[in-house]
Symmetry: C2
Subunit: 356 residues, 2 copies
């Protein structure tokens, strides 16, 4: 299916298909994909990777053995080779532009992951260097944290196309964020900017996973919302709510949504409370950055206006008058299933755009 045109001795190839490898390294899952410039996922796999056991003490930074690290890199690189070979069977003229990786607490500047305890790694791994050594044919190998990757995904493929100043908030086990200023991700001085999950939302409030108290993540992540459900059940001793029938571990964002649709007072109050706190923190975000829009991504976002209405109202209430009704609060347009891979892949297109 290749067409060649010769013009002044030059060979022009109109059917070369440019794609990138997207890799999402998570605490429990790792996913690999091949993604084209329009965000179509041409290949996807969730290989089982070897992960060292998390240490009991989250502050301990014990080197993982060279052997385990080697195995991890070997598996990643063989999975990348397999992915590219597989797609090339149906699209022979595949041009792979690079490898984009999303991982929690990854450092874009030095290409490392593993500075904190949210990851299976308990030491710094020089991920991009190690991958480049194994796959020298790829010029662009970049890593950033998963929420930054999602922000790039939103800008390259999603609802933020054409926007130069916006903020992405991901609501999952934690609360992540990616900040875009003047069309670029804000990495800060050392590559680690944009941890909005750990701003103080309620001084001396709930225990956060990081060791501090009252952080936004402890209230407005999917996990935080679950905590609110049980806090309200406890306070009101409510046994009528359908949410009273589910265990702490089994409760999902979907169940809270379903209960709210049935006018369950607990579920409705959960969304009102979550929106109040999230909106207040997003007002702070606007005071910092004056973005064009704030996007929300993740399970709780499926609740739609049940979550967005109280969040928007709270945000507007806390804003300085001249910011009011100027900042859009929008659901992400990235597809939930492939967002991590697609976001990671966006990192490569962004590098290509920057170099032009």
């Amino acid at each position: 299916m290749r067409d060649f045109f010769f013009n002044n001795g030059e060979q022009i190839d109109f059917q070369m298909k440019q794609v990138v490898v997207g890799l999402d390294i998570g605490g429990t899952n790792t996913a690999i994909g091949i993604v084209d410039r329009e965000g179509n996922v041409l290949y996807e796999k969730k290989p089982q990777l070897p992960t060292p056991q998390k240490k009991e003490n989250p502050d301990s930074r014990v080197d993982i053995s060279d052997d385990l690290c080697d195995k991890f890199i070997a598996l990643i690189t063989s999975e990348i080779r397999l992915a590219v070979a597989t797609v090339r069977q149906t699209i022979p003229d595949l041009e792979v532009m690079g490898i984009g990786i999303g991982a929690p607490y990854a450092n874009y500047y030095d290409g490392t992951i593993g500075l904190t305890a949210n990851l299976p790694f308990v030491t710094v791994v020089h991920l991009t260097d190690l991958i480049k050594t194994q796959l020298p044919e790829y010029n662009i190998v970049k890593v950033t944290n998963d929420a930054n990757a999602a922000a790039l995904g939103e800008m390259i493929y999603g609802g933020a196309i054409g926007m130069r100043n916006f903020v992405m908030i991901t609501l999952g086990t934690g609360l992540g964020s990616g900040i875009i200023v003047n069309g670029d991700l804000v990495y800060g001085h050392d590559g680690l900017a944009g941890e909005l999950g750990h701003v103080t939302a309620v001084p001396d409030g709930r225990q956060c996973g990081c060791g501090s108290k009252g952080h936004l993540e402890a209230y407005c992540s999917a996990t935080g919302i679950r905590r609110t459900v049980f806090e309200l059940l406890t306070k009101q001793n409510n046994s009528e709510s359908p949410l009273a029938k589910v265990s702490f571990n089994d409760l999902t964002s979907r169940m809270v949504y379903d209960a709210a649709v049935q006018n369950d007072p607990i579920a409705l109050e959960v969304f009102a409370y979550t929106g109040e706190i999230l909106g207040r923190s997003l007002a702070d975000t606007v005071h910092y950055l004056s973005p064009e829009a704030i996007f929300l991504f993740g399970g709780p976002v499926a609740a739609g206006e049940l979550l967005f209405k109280p969040t928007r109202e709270s945000m507007e209430r806390y804003l300085l008058p001249f910011y009011r009704n100027r900042v859009k609060l929008l659901p992400s347009k990235l597809k939930a299933g492939s967002a991590a891979i697609v976001g990671a892949s966006a990192l490569v297109w962004k590098e290509i755009d920057k170099s032009r």
Copy 2:
């Protein structure tokens, strides 16, 4: 004192002295200066400008009369002409590169001031357009808010030379801020980013001048610190403190410092409390932006470690572990007296740097 060198028909002038006009428009004072590339102030004056009366209702936006606006612009432009002419008497080969203006709530993008009630203007004034019409010989006429100007001043002349990611916090009647990311001021989508005075520091806390409650400005500006003094005097019914002898209106940052040096318990507690709240909010700042440094500017900064120590300790306590001991908290190197003019002038040098 002019030296001409002719080389291939071109005239090269080695002794041209490049300067900019710095203009600081405040609620009560306006200052004009001529500043060179090293931040030396060659001329300074604080002319009395006509200011319309502030409306009782801060939300009212009544047009000031064309006549008053014309008078205001005429006075500014004649003061600029006078300033340039005066300096030219001693430095005949003066090259004026542009006019930089600092004003509260000024909008860099559209060159307007006056969107809120903190200014004597009660309507939007298209300041840069009006000045350009009167002084068409100046290509660069730019305005930004005073804290943004201070941040640029710190970067061009002060302690942030060479830094590409830092935050400036100004502690005065209000609490202002300027955010530098990748070497540029963050203006956001609409030119109004960086209002850290209005992030929520204490939910449902003290009344803020903007109408909301619990904002950082209500606690950690010079005015906020004064409120803390009287709050503690009231709580503890302390009549021994030297601070109990001063009226609310007469109290200055310097008095609180002097009392603290004499180990007055109220004054010491004021600094501890201010540092606790400021440090917690600055930890949020680090989580947003991961800056290399945060600079503090203004009257309270003269208290030195009395303010910096509790602020630094609080900030470190609230930071995610991987940010700890990585972000410098520093006093501004701008001189208090001329900082506003010098900061405003930096806006022009920044424009020139950008266009290179």
